[in-house]
Amino acid sequence: MFAIVESQPLVPNLYRMVVEAPPVAAQVKPGQFVIVQAVEFGERIPLSVADWDAEAGTLTLIFMEVGKTTSALAAKKRGDALPTVVGPLGNPTVIEPFGSVVCVAGCYGIGSILPVARALKAAGNRVTVAIEGRSAYLLYGREALRGHCDTLIEITRDGSRGFKGHIGRLPEILREKGVTADRFIVNGCTFLMRRASQVFEPAGVPVIVSLNPIMIDGTGMCGVCRLTYDGKMKFACVDGPDFDGRLVDWEEFLKRRKQYVDEELIPVHHTGHTRCY
């Protein structure tokens, strides 16, 4: 069992959990993920690693409460334990001295972009981080991010903080600030990553996205995480999770993610309780 050291809501629907997993914490690199189970015999779900402390042997996970498993995770308290935390899975994000890198994050990605930005900065890049949300109260972790980038850009749909609008405005904002990108790295919900891939396409540089499909084993065995990338079949767990978003078949990817939406409602009817947001 993997003991939970900390567990608290960050912003509505998003939770932060610190869990003991010393072998994983000793090995993990930016961009990798773990698979967790909330309960014994429970569903296995992939979660990005938002941070880690190799010395303390802990991992920080940030996740959104959407279904049965993430609800069970959200209900966990300090002192509880998870039956499975396995990893680090997937390939680390490629960190090189690219020059100027623009990191874009939303939702749980605001958490997982932090170690990426930190490593890019340490590799000598000029790092711009743009975080995006519906409203100011959904933008968390700004202070931590500020310490690991040259410029922090905030965008809210309602204009309650930073620039008003959505990710589509970012190229214009970057132009105003005189930032050119040699590489984009995008972490967040599928919609954000797809939109970013379209919006940044004209820049002619890689738009690295961290894909978040359905997974079971996470080691290449089941193939449920497959996608069409540059016309070929890839497995997100062993070939990714990072891909150049310009070459991802997003329409197919989104449809595959929605495969079990109907079934995921069954436990709600079955147990008769759900939460209200």
């Binding site: 072998p23 994983v24 090995q27 189970q37 909330a38 309960v39 015999f41 429970g42 569903e43 296995r44 049965k68 498993t69 039956p83 499975t84 935390v85 396995v86 990893g87 680090p88 899975l89 079971i216 084993d217 080691t219 290449g220 065995m221 089941c222 193939g223 449920v224 497959r226 996608l227 069409t228 079949m233 497995f235 062993v238 078949d249 329409e251 197919e252 449809k255 595959r256 929605k258 495969q259 079990y260 079934e263 995921e264 069954i266 436990p267 079955h270």
Partner: protein, 472 residues
């Protein structure tokens, strides 16, 4: 309590049938299909063995069980001794008795097979294993004094469990590392409950743990630690990581929703207990028309699983004919009895879907058999203009796997074969990498449980010799 027995004078060709759940009943549940011999039936069957002086059956067994030996004790009613003889060579008899292809191995060599009535060795093996388990106490072998040597076993499937069991009985300290949250490898995630109850897998794994083997779950060697980091802490390692990435056919539409790899389909059902959903947490779809592509045991497992999930029509789509089906005859017959429809000489060429990305039908071609190919089987040839549409709401691709690349990719020093497999000496299991042995599907590509166990046995011997300088 045992009675003396004399070999029968005249060959008894009346092979005892094993009771099964009736097809109409079993296709509606996930309980085991075959029910096992009652004691009297087992003794009658055992008494058919003519106790050959030079038993050919033993030569047909990859782990060299003293077959006439344990059968003689069943015939005489000394079941504890039968169990002892059996388990001295096979630490997983309840599993082998169920899933070994005996008809190609021990039973194929049985002298009575020439008359078409081989002794039912597999059923007797299962009988003894189940009898012992029912007694509630497992007899534990004596573990010799510790050699002080430490061995890491990567993967807790049939190869890994065999190596671990053999080496701990020789006095070495053994740790098994398993990537998933439950041990057993393919026995747990792959083979369905109705063919191999998970309680039996658990029992066999518990036995190896009771011998003192340390089992670490949720640990992916290659990622959580590299093999080289593991080797810093151990004297030797065995890699039994099994089959890895599922193959697809590279035809259009394979990423449609409703198209599964056999690994995914079976893992959802077996490891994740999808058939209990929503009591379990991993969802499955209720699908009504299912096509399974392929003709091996895995394809049969998928088709029969689909029936049990309530599908109205389940088809096996296979490009050759019944004769060439690689699955065990017993499984083919079970599938036929349960109502699986076999579309022979049929090759899928495309899946078509709806606007939401769900599969609507399989486009396929009819084939005919031409000249024999390199494998000796007649090559299927396309019949021009024979395209047709098969409406389905699920298709399962059960055409095999390539070996798991995680270890070869993260550790230098292996020789890697054409298919991505780790090359190992068949006589010893030794790989090109110092202090590392390997066996099972990671070496051979997808094969059987017993061949993986045989490879484990061979490697354990060679590892013991390396560790102590002594032969087993």
């Amino acid at each position: 309590m045992s009675e003396p027995t004399t070999p029968p004078k005249k060959m008894n060709l009346n092979r005892e049938e094993m009771p099964k759940q009736p097809a109409v009943v079993r296709r509606g549940n996930f309980m085991e299909v075959a029910l096992g011999y009652p004691l009297e039936t087992a003794r009658r069957e055992a008494s058919r063995c003519i106790q050959c002086k030079k038993p050919l059956c033993v030569a047909g067994c990859p782990v060299e069980i003293d077959i006439p030996g344990f059968i003689r004790h069943i015939a005489s009613g000394d079941l504890p001794q039968a169990a002892r003889v059996l388990k001295s060579k096979n630490c997983l008899p309840a599993i082998c008795g169920r899933v070994c292809p005996q008809e190609e191995q021990c039973e194929a060599r049985c002298v009575l097979e020439k008359k078409g009535a081989a002794v039912a060795i597999g059923r007797l093996e299962r009988f003894i294993a189940d009898w012992e388990a029912a007694q509630g106490t497992m007899e534990m072998p004596l573990i010799p004094k510790s050699t002080g040597k430490r061995v890491a076993v990567i993967g807790s499937g049939p190869a890994g469990i065999t190596v671990a069991g053999d080496l701990i009985k020789l006095g070495h300290a053994v740790t098994i590392y398993e990537a998933l949250h439950e041990p057993g490898g393919v026995l747990t995630y792959g083979i369905p409950e109705f063919r191999l109850p998970k309680a039996i897998v658990k029992r066999e794994v518990d036995y190896v743990r009771a011998l003192g083997v340390d089992l670490v779950l949720n640990f992916v060697v290659g990622l959580t630690r590299t093999l080289d980091q593991i080797l810093d802490e151990y004297d030797a390692a065995f890699v039994g990581t099994g089959a890895g990435l599922p193959w697809f056919m590279d035809i259009p539409g394979e990423n449609l929703n409703g198209v599964y790899s056999a690994n995914e389909y079976l893992t959802r059902m077996n490891l994740m207990r999808g058939f209990l959903y929503p009591r379990s947490d991993t969802p499955i779809k209720k699908q009504t028309r299912v096509a399974v592509v392929g003709g091996g045991n895995v394809a049969m497992d998928c088709a029969r699983t689909a029936l049990r999930l309530g599908a109205a029509e389940v088809r096996i789509v296979y490009r050759r004919s019944r004769q060439e089906l690689p699955a065990r005859l017993e499984e083919i017959e079970n599938a036929e009895e349960e109502g699986v429809i076999f579309e022979y000489l049929t090759l899928p060429i495309r899946y078509n879907g709806d606007d939401d990305g769900w599969i609507l039908n399989m486009e396929a071609l009819r084939m005919e058999l031409g000249e024999p190919d390199a494998s000796g089987r007649r090559r299927p040839v396309k019949v021009e203009g024979s395209e047709f549409l098969l409406p389905v709401d699920a298709a399962v691709c059960a055409i095999g796997n390539s070996p798991n690349p995680l270890i070869p990719r993260t550790s230098a020093g292996f020789e890697i074969g054409k298919g991505g497999n780790i090359v190992a000496d068949p006589a010893t299991g030794k790989t090109a990498k110092d202090r590392v042995w390997a066996g099972g599907d990671i070496v051979t590509g997808a094969a059987t449980v017993i061949l993986a166990m045989g490879a484990g046995r061979v490697a354990a011997r060679a590892m013991h010799e390396y560790l102590t300088g002594e032969k087993v």
